[in-house]
């Protein structure tokens, strides 16, 4: 499979799962591979920027640009981060201290789901009593509801393989982490996110709320086990993708409980909204080498932005790129619009349900004051220089990557696209 030339590599602007990023470590007992036999040397070079875009004339047509490929889904679901889990010193009650535990953390999985195997490994060293398990990297408690792959992409600027983490069985930091009751909490969080994604995509959560018990259970099991086949059997029924450039989503009366002899109403036609979760990490403005990035010491230095991107056709734009999406969602770091990011409409000034645009207008804030000093082009260049890295599913993506391809192929099982952005500030 590694040798086969994949259709993904046909276009330079599409991310190359096998080339640029080597996070693919496989699951089901296969040990992680070294980076093609060479370690990444210290000071290997400046932060690699993906190759520049080809001429737009060579770009694929809209449908090809957006196409969902099963191969990509298998790679995403199959990806895993090699972990080396150390038991926190204060939790060690028996000498000699136990060796660290090596395991694979599925990229689309969650840390609490690993607890049973980790606990089994450390059981002889643990103090008696009730355990409250939490994970920590360089002093930062890890948020358990963020997928493992996202945490790795966000917190390990220079990917560490294996990723050295510490597990704690006591002293849960309740002021920083919301409580976690093991697998149930993760399942609830997954279902909640799925409902939110459904609401974003179709305008309501009916398709998820009306899933049969059996389907709900089967879907969760497929996520827990990383079983893409079972997942696809159920997820296709939900009709939550793939997204299309035509941007028309017909909201049907799927799941409506009105009498079945009523003809299904055509519903309204709305622009396509893509669920996105952004994690913006501030690094040094002059950062050149990823390994020099200051580690994240608290969650205040990471901005979490949970905001859908609405796909709109614009004059003169053939394909919506990743850059266009980020311009809209993070206007103060991308794009030429003035700085105030829309935190929402002034409450009295807009009717929330009729939607402040998610696209490129910033509602409720004065918009027309450009700073006198720099031209828009200069500002653009300056702003883009602050963006050090955009990482999705472990890959540094070029800003010219077609956004629909990214949204369709790199999203997580709960239908959210998680994007890590490193900003020099």
């Amino acid at each position: 499979a590694q040798e086969k030339k994949s259709s993904l590599q046909a276009e330079a602007k599409y991310p190359d799962f096998r080339g640029e990023a080597d996070w693919f470590a496989g699951r089901r007992g296969r040990r992680h591979r070294r980076r093609r036999g060479r370690r990444s040397p210290p000071r290997a070079g400046p932060i690699r920027r993906p190759p520049p875009a080809r001429a737009m004339a060579a770009a694929p047509r809209g449908e090809e640009a957006a196409a969902w490929s099963e191969e990509a889904a298998r790679l995403v679901w199959g990806g895993a981060v090699p972990l080396q889990v150390h038991l926190h010193d204060a939790d060690v009650t028996a000498l000699p201290p136990p060796p660290p535990f090596l395991t694979l953390g599925p990229r689309v999985g969650y840390f609490p789901l690993l607890v049973s195997t980790i606990k089994a490994h450390f059981s002889s060293s643990l103090p008696p009593g009730v355990d409250t398990v939490w994970f920590e990297y360089k002093g930062l408690p890890l948020k358990w509801y963020i997928p493992i792959g996202v945490l790795f992409d966000l917190l390990c600027a220079d990917p560490e393989r294996p990723w050295n983490l510490t597990v704690h069985f006591r002293g849960y930091p309740a002021d920083i982490l919301s409580p976690c009751e093991g697998e149930d909490s993760v399942k609830w969080n997954y279902n909640n996110s799925l409902k939110e994604a459904a609401f974003i995509i179709t305008g309501n959560s009916k398709n998820v709320m009306n899933m049969s018990q059996a389907d709900q259970l089967a879907m969760w099991e497929s996520v827990r086990k990383g079983d893409l086949n079972s997942y696809m059997n159920i997820s296709t029924k939900l009709k939550l993708g793939p997204f299309e450039e035509d941007f028309l989503v017909r909201t049907s009366s799927l799941g409506s409980r009105q009498g079945s002899d009523e003809p299904e109403s055509p519903g309204s036609v709305k622009p396509c909204r893509v669920p996105v979760r952004l994690y913006v990490r501030r690094v040094q403005e002059d950062l050149e080498y990823l390994e020099d990035a200051i580690p994240v010491s608290d969650w205040e230095s990471v901005s979490y932005i949970n905001r859908p991107f609405e796909i709109r056709k614009e004059e003169g734009r053939r394909i919506t790129t990743l850059e266009h999406a980020l311009e809209t969602l993070l206007p103060e770091f991308f794009g030429s619009k003035p700085t105030a990011r829309a935190a929402g409409p002034e409450p009295a000034a807009a009717t929330p349900d009729s939607a402040p645009d998610d696209s490129d207008t910033t509602p409720g804030t004065p918009r027309d004051r450009e700073p006198a000093s720099a031209s828009p082009q200069e500002m653009d260049v300056a702003k883009r220089a602050r963006v050090k890295l955009v990482r999705i599913q472990g890959m540094a993506l070029g800003l010219d990557t077609p956004f629909l391809w990214v949204a369709n192929n790199l999203r997580n099982p709960e239908c959210f696209l998680h994007v890590c952005v490193y900003i020099g500030a």
Binding site: I176, S178, E196, F199, P347, T351, P352, D358
Partner: protein
């Protein structure tokens, strides 16, 4: 984001301080109420302790209504876990509240109408003046 605080005398010696934030949700396109309670000494209150402070009709609303229920969520701006009234039902009950109003009235009345339901669920007393002024 709108924020305000509220003090509750929970018992003879105990005062609890509540912080409320109203934040806009881009996913659900509705306002969302976030809140947390603190003991006088600064310790966070658990959900059970908060429920003890709620008036009975609020508890009833929370238990019986499918539209209003409290969950624990990460505060969108403060990066800490807060309690929230889950927003998934909001647009449904707002449609019911506002369906007779024209567009202009709807935007003026939206937030007070929303607060009349959300506030009840968490025991807030909204001054009548808020509804009487235009």
């Amino acid at each position: 984001m709108i924020s305000f605080s509220w003090q509750v005398q929970s018992s003879r010696d105990n005062v609890h301080l509540y912080d409320f934030h109203i934040v806009y949700s881009f996913s659900y396109k509705v306002p969302v109420l976030y809140f947390q309670g603190l003991q006088a000494g600064g310790q966070l209150l658990t959900l059970d302790e908060i429920k003890k402070d709620l008036p009975p009709h609020s508890l009833q609303l929370l238990n019986e209504s499918k539209w209003t229920f409290i969950t624990r969520e990460e505060h969108p701006h403060l990066s800490r876990p807060w309690f929230t009234l889950h927003p998934c039902g909001t647009s449904d009950w707002m449609k019911l509240l506002l369906h007779k109003l024209g567009d202009k009235d709807r935007s003026l009345q939206y937030l007070p109408a929303w607060l009349s339901v959300a506030g009840q669920a968490v025991g807030l007393k909204i001054p009548l003046k808020l509804y009487c002024s235009s």
